[in-house]
């Protein structure tokens, strides 16, 4: 694959109810990314955004967000999935040779849409939706129970991940304030309200308001723009079948296939030793464990045995992950940005030592039906 780098990034501070409007938030993210790279609006050649009509509450929402995203009269397009999928489209546009600088941004404001009902619209309207038993809430419960039953994992082991990420978020100044819990204990997580048994509220990545943006450039331009380009050496994505009853929820087939595709492109055959840090979009604490097993970083059923702390054997989500704040359509993009920060040594307060290769993931769909994974590499 030709060399394309991430040359700039910016993310707004996450809020559960931000006190400003959508357009200002988008402008702040994109303008900040351009400033981060020392570039101007006129340097932009293409823009790809990730939003969702139902999260924005209006039809063709992404046409009215072109302006603050820097896309006015630019060759641009939009993706309606996670921000990490928009990065894929931005990457493709740069790899085609047609564009020299791509702006990719994504985000939504959870404070403006009714929680959970927007995901009801993603269910099968001819069968499941009228009776509402399948939802983002119940599917989380099914997924966690399937994982626990298959491998005999206890809720405590899963709660450990929630504790880790919520503590990591404390050192991430951009994380959601409600998710920054310095004194949280396993007991707190296990005894929090039931979300969908066995999932408890503190195991859930809380949707919030947020927008993030990053810039992509091909090798020649990237080296001129920054001394610290972060190369995308591999990308993979896959979508599982839809009905929960058709799937093995104790594992993530889509993450497994996304990993295979990305690792093959990047020349990774043993991620556990070759990758230094992972930023994965875990909508629930148990998903983080399922993902590292599906990627072959831990053996099946042994995800909880891995020391994923910042100073541990294989750090996962040093930024706090999605549990540190989950602005739909931005979360995966933020994971990529956090991985970039780790490689560049810019993750002040939660920096993992000696990071040269990282992976970052985004997802969409119930029980992460569609996963996308990036392998990123620094220069040294």
């Amino acid at each position: 694959m030709e060399k394309v780098a991430i040359v700039g990034y910016n993310q707004v501070k996450l809020y559960s109810d931000a006190n400003y409007g959508r357009y200002e938030m988008i402008f702040e993210a994109v303008r900040g990314a351009l400033d981060n790279a020392g570039l101007k609006k006129k340097d932009i050649t293409t823009v790809v955004s990730a939003t969702n009509d139902y999260y924005d509450g209006r039809t063709i929402s992404n046409s009215l967000t072109v302006e603050p995203g820097g896309g006015y009269l630019a060759d641009e397009s939009k993706v309606e999935m996670d921000g990490a999928h928009a990065v894929l489209y931005g990457l493709m546009r740069v790899l085609s040779g047609n564009h020299k600088l791509a702006v990719v941004w994504g985000g939504s404001m959870a404070s403006s849409y009714p929680a959970h009902t927007v995901h009801l619209y993603e269910t099968d309207p001819t069968w499941e939706r009228p009776i509402t038993y399948v939802s983002d809430i119940t599917s989380a419960g099914f997924q966690m129970r399937a994982y626990m039953e298959k491998y005999g994992i206890s809720a405590e082991e899963i709660a450990k991940t929630a504790v880790k990420n919520r503590k990591n978020a404390v050192n991430n100044p951009l994380a959601l304030a409600e998710a920054q819990n310095p004194n949280i204990t396993l007991k707190d997580v296990l005894e929090s309200d039931i979300y969908s048994d066995p999932v408890t509220e503190l195991m859930v990545a809380q949707p919030c308001d947020g927008v993030a943006a990053l810039l992509l450039a091909p090798e020649k331009q990237a080296k001129k723009i920054t001394d610290n380009p972060v190369w995308i050496t591999g990308v993979g994505l896959s979508q599982e079948t839809y009905y929960l009853g058709d799937r093995d929820l104790s594992t993530s087939k889509s993450m497994e296939l996304a990993g295979k595709m990305a690792f093959q492109a990047a020349g990774i055959n043993d991620p556990n030793t070759q990758i230094d840090v992972a930023e994965l979009y875990e909508a629930f604490a148990h998903e983080e464990l399922i993902f590292i097993e599906s990627l072959g970083i831990a053996e099946k059923g042994k995800g909880a045995d891995l020391n994923a702390e910042i100073g541990g054997d294989f750090p996962v989500n040093p930024s706090g992950g999605a549990l540190g704040g989950n602005p739909l359509c931005a979360t995966g993009l933020i994971r990529i940005i956090e991985a970039v920060k780790q490689i560049r040594g810019e993750a002040k307060g939660y920096q993992v030592k000696n990071v040269n290769k990282a992976i970052a993931s985004g997802q969409i769909g119930m029980c992460s039906q569609n996963n996308i994974l990036y392998v990123l590499e620094g220069d040294n």
């Binding site: 006190n19 009801l120 001819t126 009228p130 009776i131 129970r145 969908s196």
Partner: protein
């Protein structure tokens, strides 16, 4: 960002109604449901039986002809998974309720997939994965998914 001040507040409801074509396969399924019967269809290649029936087998990418491979199924099954939740959702809002619902994934005997429905007349402590369950039919059926009120212990 300056201090918060509500300048204009607008409240209103925009009604947008949708009605979905179910297609001819689901049409047959709902006709059977109205008669308190469950039918599925079978992939001619791999033999998987689908409830509800489908036009295409996702594993084989094989089209199942509309007039063939129908399978009559009993209204009993096995519980494959379950969850307990205090949330109730509809198209407009979600809210927490006092009495939790037990939602289960049930594999109808003879089928290869599971369907998701409430479990009725059972306490959370009594639920066991692998237990036999049977359909509780609505008194007056309409030919839609709610004809199955839920599943209870068989």
């Amino acid at each position: 960002m300056t201090e918060e001040k509500i300048v204009v507040a607008n409240k209103g409801i925009i009604r947008a109604e949708f009605a979905f074509w179910v297609g001819q396969y689901m049409d047959k399924f709902y006709d059977a449901l109205e008669n308190k019967k469950i039918v599925g269809n079978k992939c001619p290649k791999c033999g998987d039986v689908f409830v509800p029936p489908r036009k295409i087998c996702g594993k084989c990418n094989e089209t199942i002809p509309l007039d063939q491979n129908w399978v009559d199924l009993p209204d009993t099954g096995i519980l494959k998974n379950y969850t307990i939740t205090y949330y109730k959702i509809n198209d407009r809002a979600s809210r927490k309720v006092k009495k939790p619902q037990i939602i289960g994934m049930v594999q109808i005997d003879g089928s290869s997939t599971s369907i998701v429905y409430r479990l009725l007349n059972i306490e959370p402590g009594e639920v066991k994965i692998g237990m036999k369950v049977k359909v509780n039919w609505e008194e007056a059926t309409k030919g839609d998914p709610s004809d199955i009120k839920g599943f209870s212990k068989a």
